[in-house]
């Protein structure tokens, strides 16, 4: 059963529609990420759940109660901001206890909950420090503890890791996920970083220009993108102009080179112009065991990216990227040489042009 329900929510600023007919059901304890480029409406949707923006139309229900018109301080929703938003005049402990004091909880309860939260974020030694005395990662952990201290029904995270450096981002996102799981709290996480969304979420909502493009698990979003936007936005993707050759066999042609797609070309006709999308890691050098989609390619360039080696190949007249894992014994082909490469039928996605 849905715990948070966002139904037909639209938000307009003047004539501009920022969020258009957004519908989403989120289960209790679920971690959902809103993923999309800047200006796609993900933060506005989050702010409507928090109560900082009022929907132009639509409803938001939390545990069956209509909270659409409730003030932010009446919603019992915790929020974490990109800029931490810690109160500079308060210590770590005072920041964490602020929400409880506002709710007029007994001093003993405040003290106990603050202590619990400080242990949860492992900042026992910093309880009496002011925000300016903490690093960015520590400040964001305090912000998380402060939001969790009030035991909110939903935790909203508005790009909480964007202001942190790469290493801390990775460690903090794991920490956020593990705390969320251990407390069983429902969470919505806004990000424009696909890696973050893929690694942390139960489900991802990919948004574009105020609309939902696709909702699914990270596995579904990455492996089975339903629209060209999702395919392009999530992960690296090779796209090429193609033409439907045989609808029964799912055959498409890229510059005369034929590829078979497992999903087929249903609903299309022979000669239709389409786009073929193949992720770089789905290509590999062909061996004698390979039967499907074995095609000739010319090696154009090789780029070393650390754990991955990116090889630029030319199939027909179109350039594709092929990613292969790096290892010390990897034998790389020479630039300009001709090789046979392959990809599975499942790797070939046929999208509208």
């Amino acid at each position: 059963m849905s715990y948070l329900s966002i139904s037909n929510v639209t938000k307009q600023f003047g004539d501009t529609v920022v969020v258009d007919n957004f519908n989403l059901e989120i289960g209790k304890g679920e971690f959902v990420s809103f993923l999309g480029p800047s200006g796609c409406g993900k933060t506005t949707t989050l702010r409507m759940v928090a109560g900082f923006e009022n929907p132009t139309s639509g409803k938001i229900l939390l545990d069956g109660a209509d909270i659409t018109d409730k003030a932010p301080n009446q919603r019992n929703v915790g929020m974490i901001f990109q800029s931490y938003a810690l109160f500079p005049n308060m210590t770590v402990a005072q920041n964490i206890g602020f929400g409880l004091k506002v709710r007029k909880e007994a001093d003993a309860v405040v003290k106990q909950r603050v202590s619990e939260m400080i242990s949860l974020i492992n900042l026992e030694a910093h309880a009496n420090k002011y925000p300016y005395q903490l690093s960015g990662g520590q400040q964001q952990r305090v912000s998380l503890a402060r939001a969790l201290a009030i035991r909110p029904q939903v935790l909203l995270l508005d790009e909480p890791l964007s202001a942190l450096d790469a290493k801390i981002r990775v460690s903090l996102r794991s920490e956020i996920r593990s705390i969320q799981k251990s407390l069983g709290i429902t969470a919505i996480f806004v990000t424009h970083d696909q890696e973050e969304a893929l690694s942390i979420s139960d489900r991802i909502v990919v948004m574009n220009a105020g609309e939902m493009e696709q909702v699914g698990t990270p596995f579904e979003i990455y492996n089975f993108p339903k629209t060209r936007f999702v395919a392009n936005f999530v992960g690296s993707l090779n796209t090429a102009d193609a033409e439907v050759v045989d609808t029964a066999k799912g055959l498409v042609s890229v510059d005369g080179v034929q590829f078979t797609s497992a999903e087929g070309t249903k609903g299309r006709n022979k000669g239709d112009k389409v786009k073929v999308a193949i992720r770089p890691e789905r290509f590999s050098f062909a061996t004698q065991q390979h039967k499907d989609n074995v095609v000739d390619a010319i090696i154009e360039n090789i780029t070393f990216l650390g754990s991955v080696v990116r090889i630029q190949i030319k199939i027909g007249n179109t350039s594709f990227n092929m990613d292969t894992f790096n290892n010390p014994f990897l034998e790389l082909p020479k630039i300009g040489s001709k090789q046979q490469v392959t990809c599975s039928k499942e790797a070939v996605l046929v999208l509208d042009e």
């Binding site: 900082f52 932010p72 301080n73 800029s83 810690l86 300016y132 939001a147 009030i150």
Partner: protein, 276 residues
């Protein structure tokens, strides 16, 4: 060689301007101080002794201090929520409000006081009736006190508004407000426990400037017939020579102490807000 290099790098011109500036401000003060001591060489602080013995000095000084405190409180109640709301919800109104706050620089105090006297020297009646709902404020002491505080608030507004607005610019008012709201705080709690403590140095500097303006103000108090410190000092200067010099020096000293307090408090807060 090293000494010559250092000498070459020494900013002579900057120091020259600094010294000239310092002389410009310090010399008159020193002269006033020296003059205040010259009444009776046998009793150097005679002027101070006489000034402090005068009961009218204490009466006017205390009255001005009370007015200053009331003005500061009233200004904070008026200006803080206004500046906060403009930053939060009405940024487009900022230029208009800034223009309004600059009006006291354009409209002289004498015009202000005549305006106040003209408007508030007749009783207010309900339109189209003879029913009086407010007596003329100039007719009774409390009313005059209200008028003078209102006048002081107008005079102090540019300083108080700008101090508060600058203070609010240094903290992320919008995000702090939203963070507090999401934690369940009401507007009153947000203003008193989140906003005010984070702009306390700005408030203090605005308050001290207001204090200085009110304590030294002459025109409003003279025309409204209020026994304040400004008119007292002015009258004293008309009849005596040494006491006004002594009191002027004391006033300077008080201002400097106030400025020192601003530095102390501001320094403390800069550290608190620095890491934000």
């Amino acid at each position: 060689m090293k000494f010559l290099n250092r000498l070459r790098k020494f900013p002579f011109l900057a120091w020259l301007w600094f010294l000239l500036g310092a002389l410009y401000f310090v010399l008159p003060l020193l002269a006033t101080f020296e003059f205040s001591l010259s009444w009776d060489p046998a009793v150097p602080f005679k002027a101070y002794q006489r000034a402090f013995e005068d009961v009218r000095f204490w009466r006017s000084f205390i009255a001005s201090n009370v007015f200053a405190v009331i003005t500061i409180i009233a200004c904070i109640i008026l200006v803080v929520p206004t500046a906060y709301w403009i930053r939060l919800r009405l940024p487009q109104a900022r230029r208009i409000v800034e223009f309004i706050t600059l009006m006291p620089f354009v409209v002289p105090a004498i015009i202000l006081v005549f305006g106040l006297i003209r408007v508030y020297s007749t009783p207010f009646t309900i339109p189209f009736t003879n029913i009086v709902f407010m007596q003329a404020l100039t007719q009774f002491k409390a009313g005059t006190n209200i008028l003078i505080v209102a006048g002081y608030m107008v005079l102090a507004m540019p300083y108080m508004y700008r101090s508060v607005d600058t203070g609010m610019r240094t903290v992320d008012i919008l995000t702090l407000t939203e963070a507090a709201q999401s934690l369940g705080a009401s507007w009153f709690v947000i203003i008193t426990r989140v906003i005010l403590p984070n702009i306390r140095s700005a408030l203090l500097s605005g308050a001290l400037l207001t204090f200085a303006i009110v304590v030294g103000e002459v025109i409003l108090a003279s025309f409204l017939g209020v026994n304040a410190f400004g008119p007292y000092l002015f009258l004293l200067g008309q009849h005596r020579a040494y006491e006004p010099a002594a009191l002027s020096f004391v006033s300077f000293l008080l201002t400097w102490i106030a400025m020192g307090m601003i530095q102390l408090v501001t320094g403390g807060q800069n550290q608190t807000a620095g890491g934000h």
